[in-house]
């Protein structure tokens, strides 16, 4: 079945969340319709390759999606200079996304730009009427973004919310039942939360980031390592963009 396309999306809003992080809404009804949390889009904003960004929300009625962008280099800088009303080439929704069906309750743990895809997971789980707890960790108060009512916030500096990292936030929870942990953030954080989940015998999924080209699974530049079932090989390479970006923590080698 050939039904996927590259789209042109109009920037309908643009806001600074802090000095180097922006939040955009883009008009793209097809992507808004099809997107599930954990998936991403690939956007033209640089000299040659597109750039991947997690989908931060989708509004089917308005036909819009949102993304959060931290400026780190040329492509994200260019994107930050795009104005409302301008058009970008966009591919999506891409990747596998989170499994939000198999569990009754979820704990979302995020840091860095990982809070964006988790925001979409939070919205969706809330709509589904599932039990969802959110813990976001930041360096200090000035970095706190995407906070919604009920979210548990931690700061390393201790000037807002719980002092410490995301693990301090998780330790503050009284866990009941068998919630599934979804964690998106810097690798050390995902490892920390993965180990925490393991020690509590909880299922945990992480969302990986790799340098990409196509974003659709045809070039094999974006591989992650997963444990192999074959005893003769140490690991297997799988595509972050197509087989991921979400993987079972027990399966992926971070």
């Amino acid at each position: 079945m050939s039904n996927k396309q590259e789209y042109k999306a109009e920037i309908v809003s643009k806001d600074y969340l802090n000095e180097d992080t922006l939040f955009f809404e883009l008009k793209c009804p097809e992507i808004a319709d099809a997107a599930i949390p954990g998936q991403f889009v690939n956007i033209s904003c640089s000299k040659f390759l597109k750039r991947p960004f997690g989908i931060a929300s989708a509004n089917k009625e308005d036909g819009t999606i949102s993304i959060g962008v931290k400026i780190i280099g040329e492509g994200t800088k260019n994107l930050s200079e795009i104005e409302i009303g301008e058009i970008v080439d966009i591919l999506g929704p891409l990747g596998n996304g989170f499994d939000l069906d198999s569990f009754d309750s979820y704990i979302l743990a995020g840091g860095g730009t990982g809070v964006f895809p988790l925001n979409f997971a939070y919205d969706t789980l809330s709509l589904m009427g599932k039990n969802v707890t959110t813990v976001f960790g930041f360096r200090d108060r000035s970095q706190v973004i995407m906070e919604k009512e009920g979210h548990i916030i931690t700061t390393d500096a201790g000037d807002y919310g719980i002092k410490g990292n995301v693990l301090a936030g998780l330790d503050s929870l009284s866990i009941s039942g068998n919630p599934c942990i979804l964690v998106v953030g810097p690798t050390p954080m995902m490892k920390g939360v993965g180990e925490w989940a393991r020690s509590h015998s909880l299922k945990c999924f992480v969302s990986t980031e790799q340098h990409m080209a196509c974003g659709v699974g045809i070039c094999l530049v974006c591989v992650c390592k997963i444990r192999s079932e074959d005893p003769n090989e140490e690991y297997k390479h799988v595509r972050c963009c197509k087989d991921g970006p979400v993987f079972d923590y027990e399966e992926v080698i971070l």
Partner: protein
């Protein structure tokens, strides 16, 4: 698509001169979600080796001004898996099935062709990749020695009646030498070019961007090099040439054909726009219509040098 785009590469009939290049379309499954691949002349599989390969470690891509470096390192599931799980799928796409064969040694290439020859009903072409720059041994080092090219091609010629297209590396000083060697060995066509060896450096870490240190440069930046090589080879070869390197538009295809290509392969363009093959094919239809061209192959080799 109309018959205006039908071309012949030696004995091989193709619906269109537009083929998707190896390593930029996997085995067709992902791109067939974007368009019906039967509009294409063919699809060249990911480079296959006798045993599965995990490919290179670490970062495998570096963006460049008008292209990219890749150092995938021939990650592939191996030829046995391909035969069992991907070949029938490729055949079902109703387009030319080109199997890209890579290796580290003379024996590897022979072993590969022995394994593939029994499936000749399902395969249109064996594309012998003597040009991958991203693996330590074999491949590119074989392709840059005319003696070795001739030796391998003649050996493979004895093993199969399938058309053999020899894909050469541009990382040589005289491209006509390996091209002529391939022709003497019994090649049916030459594919020009694979990627140019390149390097990008992260100036903050003073380390190469790709962990393999070097990578293969592809995309629009390499197009002039490819066109020059197609033109040089077309003046000395009797066998057809399949042009490749930086093609993004129908006009690029026309340029390659005028230079001497009978067909072309589109690589990196599909990584930027998944439907690049379709856009280019539609553009070629329009080009033929606008210029009253009955068959696109009338362009091949019409270059007049100054």
């Amino acid at each position: 698509m109309s018959s205006r785009l039908n071309v012949k590469v030696g004995s091989v009939d193709l619906k269109s001169p537009v083929i998707l290049a190896s390593g930029t379309c996997n085995f067709g499954r992902e791109l067939s979600e974007y368009y019906d691949l039967s509009v294409l002349g063919g699809l060249s599989s990911k480079g296959l080796t006798i045993k599965p390969r995990a490919g290179n470690e670490g970062c495998r891509v570096a963006e460049c001004d008008s292209g990219m470096l890749n150092s995938v390192g021939l990650q592939n599931p191996g030829v046995d898996y391909f035969i069992e799980h991907e070949l029938d799928y490729m055949r079902s796409l109703n387009t030319g099935v080109i199997v890209n064969v890579a290796g580290h040694s003379f024996d590897d290439y022979c072993g590969m062709v022995r394994k593939l020859d029994p499936f000749k009903e399902k395969i249109d072409v064996l594309e012998i990749n003597l040009s991958c720059p991203n693996v330590k041994e074999g491949c590119m080092s074989i392709g840059s020695s005319p003696e070795q090219v001739k030796k391998i091609v003649s050996a493979l010629r004895d093993l199969t009646t399938l058309p053999l297209w020899i894909k050469l590396t541009p990382n040589v000083s005289d491209i006509t030498a390996p091209a002529l060697a391939a022709q003497e060995g019994g090649a049916d066509a030459i594919v020009l070019i694979n990627t140019l060896l390149g390097m990008r450096i992260n100036i903050k870490t003073r380390r190469p961007v790709v962990q393999n240190n070097t990578g293969g440069y592809s995309g629009p930046a390499v197009k002039p090099v490819a066109i020059r090589m197609v033109s040089e080879c077309s003046r000395v070869l009797d066998i057809p040439i399949v042009g490749c390197g930086g093609i993004e538009t129908a006009e690029d295809v026309v340029e390659f054909m005028i230079a001497g290509a009978s067909a072309v392969e589109v690589g990196t363009a599909s990584l930027i726009h998944p439907d690049a093959g379709l856009r280019i094919t539609e553009g070629l239809e329009r080009y033929c219509e606008d210029n009253k061209i009955e068959n696109i192959s009338s362009l091949t080799g019409t270059l007049e040098l100054w």
